[in-house]
Amino acid sequence: MSLRDLMLPSAAVVLAVVLLRAFPGRTEVVLGTSLRFFVEMLLILPAVMVLVGLFGGWVPKDVVARYLGRASGLGGLLLSFLMGALPTGPLYMAFPMASALLAKGARVANVVAFLSAWACIKVPQEMVELQFLGPKFMASRLVLTVASVVGMGILVEKLLRRKYGGVRPIRAEG
């Protein structure tokens, strides 16, 4: 943890102290709510992080790219999706991979599905959503996002093709 990481929680604590000094009547509600959410978070976060770590330890980094390179058809679309959903780090890590995939001739629809899945349906993220917003909310949002992202992939592909007759990434690699 660097000093910068501690700035946000410290600022929040200072704000809380100042506000609660001024309005002591609210202390019970504020602390009670904070504690309840903190406990809920602690009940689930270590398990989620263990899974993230095990994934990182067991699955080599290049495996995702290797599988996506030969993905095609509807199966390819689904595979791109699953690959994106694996617990593999922040979105900015996915852009160079997506760019390399386009350069290698992967379908635009697959790359969009891969990127969007990476952004919004990560496995650890879904677990926390399940914990806080419940199975109905999590499951219906998951199904709807999967459907939208697949549709969006195909749409983006059509729109880009109409304009340029193809897609050429700006910085092609490989």
Partner: protein
């Protein structure tokens, strides 16, 4: 709620045991990654937990429900979707925040719109996405994501 906790913890424990039996050294390396990831999110978790407490204590529920509740209509959904687009909050801590706003009277539609734009759209990463994949690609993906997030949210509001 507790059911979820039990299932996820048992699952993680099972995976951990499997890993330990297969390869203790690799398991140790994996747990080092786990610890690093945990320490990385911990400061944001602390900050959001304090913030949620403050919101509960100082933000009147009537205000939340007026801006983001059922009566706020499509305007409320747009406010939530725009907040999700502009804010840059790690998604893992956005769910407790969303749950707390839901408890305070925001509608399912607004919360779904917020969570979906927050995760799908990256305004901070947009320049990077444009550089790697082209401006048209990045703008199309993020723009369409906004529209889709609102559609997803409206359907969720209707079925939940």
């Amino acid at each position: 709620m507790t059911y979820t906790v039990v299932v996820i913890n048992l699952f993680a424990l099972a995976c951990l045991l499997w890993s330990l039996l297969r390869d203790p050294a690799r398991t140790r390396r994996s747990l080092a990654i786990s610890l690093r990831s945990f320490l990385r999110v911990l400061p944001s978790v602390l900050a959001i937990v304090v913030l949620i407490g403050l919101l509960r204590g100082f933000l009147p529920p009537e205000l939340v429900s007026r801006i983001l509740g059922e009566r706020s209509g499509f305007g409320g959904v747009m406010v939530a979707a725009s907040l999700g687009t502009v804010l840059h909050i790690p998604s893992i801590i956005s769910f407790p925040l969303a749950a707390s706003v839901l408890e305070e009277g925001a509608s399912v539609t607004a919360v779904a719109a917020f969570v979906t734009t927050l995760t799908m759209i990256g305004t901070v990463t947009l320049p990077l996405e444009a550089r790697e994949l082209g401006r048209r690609f990045a703008l199309l993906r993020n723009g369409l994501s906004f529209v889709l997030a609102i559609i997803v949210a409206l359907i969720m509001g209707a079925i939940l």
